[in-house]
């Protein structure tokens, strides 16, 4: 294969390379227009729902998680959802239900985390040998799928004859344990 035939052997590649360069340049032009179009960063809801009740079932079709609120607004820019006066109920066959409500709430984009703000109240009815329990705080994070509730804010817990003040809480509703994280002050009134 002499130098000339080698040269002729590569000749057909040239038009292909030119075509490739042209396509690449065209794609560059189109990209810029799309970026400009989504420039308006206003934080506006793209969906509002009023006075709704949502029920989530488990695999057996038994209701496990109820969510209701006076209003829900969805914001596309962060894909977050804000709730006014949200109420959550976590149901289970072996344990009394757990109710959580507050003034404001928001749901993460994947919907597996609900944050409660202002006048947050957690309530659990009496059940088995356990007395009813009420808990108050200003901020609470609820993970319904893991039956987990926690906060790092001051917490006040009341049950039949005990009042407990503390800062920080981790509540595992599945294992039915509640951990108060610091500065615990409990007062128990003997009947």
């Amino acid at each position: 294969m002499t130098a000339v035939s080698k040269y002729r052997y590569w000749l057909p590649l040239l038009p292909l390379l030119a075509l490739l360069a042209g396509v690449y340049w065209l794609d560059k032009q189109v990209q810029q227009e799309i970026a400009v179009a989504a420039g308006n960063q206003r934080h506006d809801p793209d969906g509002i729902m009023d006075n709704f009740h949502a029920t989530k079932m488990d695999l057996q079709g038994v209701p496990r998680f109820l969510l209701s609120a006076t209003q829900m607004r969805h914001y596309p820019d962060h894909d977050t959802t804000e709730l006014d006066f949200p109420r959550v109920t976590m149901l289970s066959s072996e344990r009394p239900p757990l109710y959580v409500n507050g003034n404001r709430g928001n749901v993460s984009s994947r919907g597996d985390e609900v944050l409660f703000h202002e006048n947050v109240v957690v309530r659990r009815d009496a059940g088995g040998d356990q007395s009813a329990m009420t808990l108050k705080t200003e901020y609470l994070r609820v993970l319904p799928n893991q039956d987990w509730v926690n906060t790092d804010r001051p917490v006040t817990m009341f049950n039949l004859n005990t009042t407990v003040h503390a800062i920080g809480l981790e509540m595992d509703n599945k294992a039915r344990t509640m951990k108060l994280l610091s500065q615990v002050r409990s007062e128990h009134h003997v009947k």
Partner: protein, 158 residues
């Protein structure tokens, strides 16, 4: 004193884990349990509660301590031990492992000392003393001077 029984029980601690299934609260970190004049201190206090109310408390500590005013006297009874068990129903306080109970100048030492806060009698024994320790009870009783309060025998030897 007897009036302590219906006073509220305050517990201060760094942390608490409340196990609702078993109704057990485990307080940890500089724990102070107060009921009227009675005070428990320890690194950890486990409280078993039932719906009726406060049942049994166990204080653990390098030396957990107990203190209570005597009925009608301006005197305190103090007790120390690695483990102190308190039961509201039976009104007894049990001190285990290097147990030591002091009342005014009288002091009793042993592996296990029981103090009944109703009758104010305490009893020391070394039944469950660890193997190898002499398993003896040691009591120090100060005779009250004539004009002082008559000296009640503080402890029976076991």
């Amino acid at each position: 004193e007897r009036a302590d029984r219906d006073k509220p029980i305050d517990i201060d601690a760094d942390q608490v884990i409340v196990d609702d299934a078993k109704q057990i609260s485990t307080f940890t970190g500089h724990v102070i349990l107060t009921q009227g004049t009675m005070v428990f201190r320890g690194d950890k206090i486990v409280v078993v509660q039932d719906k009726a109310g406060f049942q049994r408390g166990t204080a653990y500590g390098h030396t957990a301590s107990f203190r209570q005013k005597r009925e009608g006297l301006d005197e305190y009874v103090e007790g120390f031990g690695e483990r102190i068990e308190y039961d509201t129903r039976a009104d007894t306080v049990d001190f285990y492992i290097q147990a030591r109970v002091k009342r005014a100048q009288d002091e009793v030492r042993g592996e296990h000392v029981t103090y009944n806060s109703k009758t104010e009698i305490f009893q020391a024994d070394s039944k469950n003393a660890a193997a190898g320790t002499p398993g003896r009870v040691h009591a120090v009783l100060f005779p009250k001077s004539k004009e002082g309060a008559e000296a009640k025998p503080a402890a029976e030897r076991k």
